[in-house]
């Protein structure tokens, strides 16, 4: 259950102390670290891009084809054997597990960070993938020497290098005659350690017919795509990994899938090791190499997957666009504080924070009463649209959310999305000022006539309550409410303490808004306050809160003790 902190103050004793805005002003604004998104990617071509394709499975450290690759917290991948020896980390004592107390300097110059040894494990998906690729390369390596290509390595030069230095580099660069087309020969060159990671290659076919063996490359790449594809499905969603993100235990999932898993538990779904990562996956790097492989091998599938994911984030009925938080009463213009810990609502909040920051708050339908056309839904028909003002994400995935009521709505249709409710809503607005004025005139005039008639007939009796109420002008109703507030303050009513006023502000002098403020501070049940959400006339709202005052006064409540009316 998500509990609203504000409820604390309904407790008869000491509630006041615990009533404070739970969200500190310096709250973090949390957003996802955007993952690298590649612009319109074109698939790498087997022949033309052979060098680039082989680089994808080369270790940036030792330049050989990756062997037991480890993906580091920075998202880069090297062979495990290419990792430097772990050394004790300075000034680190938490978490106090042996493998976290040791660190290793990231061998990649673009990173340079010190990674905890615990987070540098073999990448299960990539290991399998490079083994499969190696096997295919071996299978396609011809035993006869009938398809010769000359490969000339072009070492990477720095522009700052002197001319003769560049000359010298040409001398030390490798040259080889290898067989089986560009892909196989390039891979072979990397295998024998004669192709630097950063180097380029110039190819000359030595075929007597001038054949450049392009069809060999095409056939091999088709085969590589086929074997790779089977390994690139996420174990949570069963589709192509989208923005693959690798855990410290070496298991890889779509970024979104991993985030959803972390909403529900802190362990890896595959090996059940503890992961200690926040569900926002904030600061968690994507697997750069897997992303490059996906984009290089099958950009069309990657694009289709992204489109499908976007469609899946929408409910089947794309008019159900408002997420619904079923929890408590919220009121327009007033703050509502939420402590979110149910996994489905964690997901909802994350999506809200990334989106337009708005969601609908509705109350539980405790009596299962039918809700208009919706029938006996789990929630009440009318609610308040809330906007997130502050979002504080805790390490364990819970969050404190400060919101403000934007407006009221009625639910026209509803459905489910990933475990939470979504709805199509219709805003509930007040009547125009002209209509409001007419209504006041009509009501007060007719009440006056009724009152005169009643008094003529019953000179000594008190006016019936409904007539007496309708006699008041709208301004008069507000003034009476304000007067009541003044009296209650003088009597030090606990529900009007400085604390509460600092959260909800001074009572608004706008008759349209006053009832929301009053309902926010007054300790009566939410079900009673709920009727305000259904009103579309200012006067009607004021009459409702005025009647609450009548009840409170009727219960002789001079001390302002909140419990007496609970």
């Amino acid at each position: 259950m998500n509990r609203q902190r504000r409820k604390d103050f309904l407790l008869p004793l000491g509630g006041e102390q615990s009533f404070e805005p739970p969200v500190p002003p310096q709250s973090l604004m949390v957003g996802n670290v955007p993952s690298q998104e590649s612009p319109e990617q074109v698939a790498l071509a087997a022949h033309r891009d052979a060098r680039q394709l082989v680089r994808l499975v080369q270790c940036p450290q030792c330049s050989r084809p990756l062997s037991a690759p480890a993906t580091l917290p920075c998202g880069h991948t090297v062979c495990r054997r290419c990792l430097p020896h772990p050394r004790p980390r300075a000034n680190i004592s938490y978490p106090n597990t042996p493998d976290r107390l040791f660190g290793l300097a990231c061998p990649l110059p673009q990173c340079g960070a010190e990674h905890a040894a615990a987070e540098c494990n073999v990448d299960v998906t990539l290991s399998k993938l490079v083994e499969l690729i190696k096997a295919e390369m071996t299978k396609h390596n011809p035993s006869t020497h009938a398809t010769p290509t000359q490969l000339e390595e072009i070492l990477q030069c720095d522009d700052s290098m002197a001319m003769e230095e560049k000359e010298k580099m040409r001398d030390i660069s490798n040259q080889r005659v290898l067989h089986g087309g560009r892909l196989v020969s390039t891979f072979t060159m990397a295998e024998i350690g004669e192709l630097q990671y950063g180097s380029d290659l110039v190819y000359h076919t030595l075929s007597s017919t001038g054949d450049d063996y392009q069809q060999l490359d095409n056939a091999l790449l088709d085969r590589l795509r086929e074997v790779a594809h089977k390994e690139l499905d996420c174990l949570v969603c069963y589709t192509l990994m989208m923005d693959p993100t690798t855990t410290s235990c070496g298991h890889t999932f779509c970024r979104r899938c991993l985030a959803r898993v972390m909403d529900h538990s802190s362990i890896c779904p595959v090996c059940r090791r503890d992961l200690h990562i926040p569900a926002s996956l904030q600061n968690k790097c994507s697997n750069a190499l897997l992303n490059s492989l996906l984009n290089g091998l099958c950009p069309d599938l990657v694009a289709a997957r992204a489109a499908a994911a976007e469609a899946e984030e929408q409910p089947g009925d794309d008019t159900l666009t408002t997420p619904l938080f079923v929890c408590t009463l919220a009121l327009p213009t007033m703050p509502t504080f939420l402590h979110v810990f149910e996994p489905r609502y964690r997901l909802m909040m994350r999506r809200c924070v990334e989106g337009n920051r708005q969601f609908g708050m509705v109350m539980y339908n405790r009596t299962s009463a039918p809700q208009g056309d919706l029938g006996p839904t789990q929630f009440l028909e009318y609610g308040t649209l809330l906007e997130i003002v502050n979002f504080e994400l805790l390490r364990d995935g819970r969050s404190f959310v400060e919101t403000r009521g934007v407006g009221r709505f009625r639910i026209c249709a509803h459905g489910m999305l990933d475990g939470y409710h979504v709805g199509r809503i219709e805003r509930v607005e007040d009547l125009s000022l002209a209509e409001e004025g007419e209504l006041e005139q009509r009501e007060t005039t007719s009440a006056q006539e009724l009152a005169d008639q009643f008094q003529r007939e019953n000179p000594d009796a008190a006016l019936p309550a409904d007539i007496a109420l309708n006699l008041h002008s709208t301004q008069n109703l507000l003034d009476s409410c304000m007067e009541f507030i003044r009296q209650m303050r003088q009597a030090s009513a606990p529900w009007l303490s400085a604390r509460i006023v600092s959260v909800y502000g001074e009572p608004p002098e706008d008759p349209a808004l006053f009832p929301y403020w009053f309902a926010s501070v007054l300790p009566i049940t939410e079900e009673e306050k709920y009727v305000l959400l259904r009103t579309n006339r200012v006067r009607e709202r004021l009459k409702i809160v005025y009647s609450w005052i009548g009840r409170i006064r009727g219960q002789r409540w001079p001390s302002g003790n909140a419990c007496s009316i609970l």
Binding site: V236, V261, H264, P269, E312, D317, P343, M416, L417
Partner: protein, 149 residues
């Protein structure tokens, strides 16, 4: 609401490569609801029995486990009178990397290896511990009586 890709794929695979001794067929009008049949494992008191069960994939599947319940009466210390099953992978040990197939296999394995130390049906567990032979005989009897087609 559209059915998630994963549920479609799992269903297709269940149909294409059925598991030995288990069948799971989705309802036509609700593809999250499966009619399940589990054959009692050989060399267990349930051998020869055909046990019907229902399986439902909740809204937040695979984040939450499937809900499974036996419909055929069964005498088993980890299955109660309402057919509810006490099995860790259906509760706290669920992981989204598990699937319908693995869950049904676990349930079949549970039939082959009753665990009276972690009971759901207390009376059955009690009898199982006090007089295992008699309990097994009762389980066989029930299988004969309720689980024969």
């Amino acid at each position: 609401m559209a059915l998630p890709k994963r549920i479609i794929k799992e269903t297709e695979r269940l149909m294409a490569e059925p598991v030995q001794g288990i069948s799971a067929i989705p309802h036509e009008e609700n593809l999250r609801h499966f009619d399940v049949v589990i054959f009692g494992p050989s060399q267990s008191p349930y051998e020869g029995g055909v046990f019907k069960a229902e399986l439902f994939l909740p809204e937040d599947y695979p984040m939450a486990p499937p809900k499974v319940r036996f419909l055929t009466k069964i005498y088993h210390p980890n299955i109660d009178r309402l057919g509810r099953i006490c099995l860790d992978v259906l509760k706290s040990n669920w992981s989204p990397a598990l699937q319908i197939r693995t869950i049904l296999l676990s349930i079949q394995a549970l039939l082959g290896a009753p665990n009276p130390d972690d009971p759901l049906a207390n009376d059955v567990a009690q009898q199982w511990k006090e007089d295992q032979n008699k309990a097994i005989a009762t389980a066989k009897e029930w299988t004969e009586k309720y689980a024969k087609p």
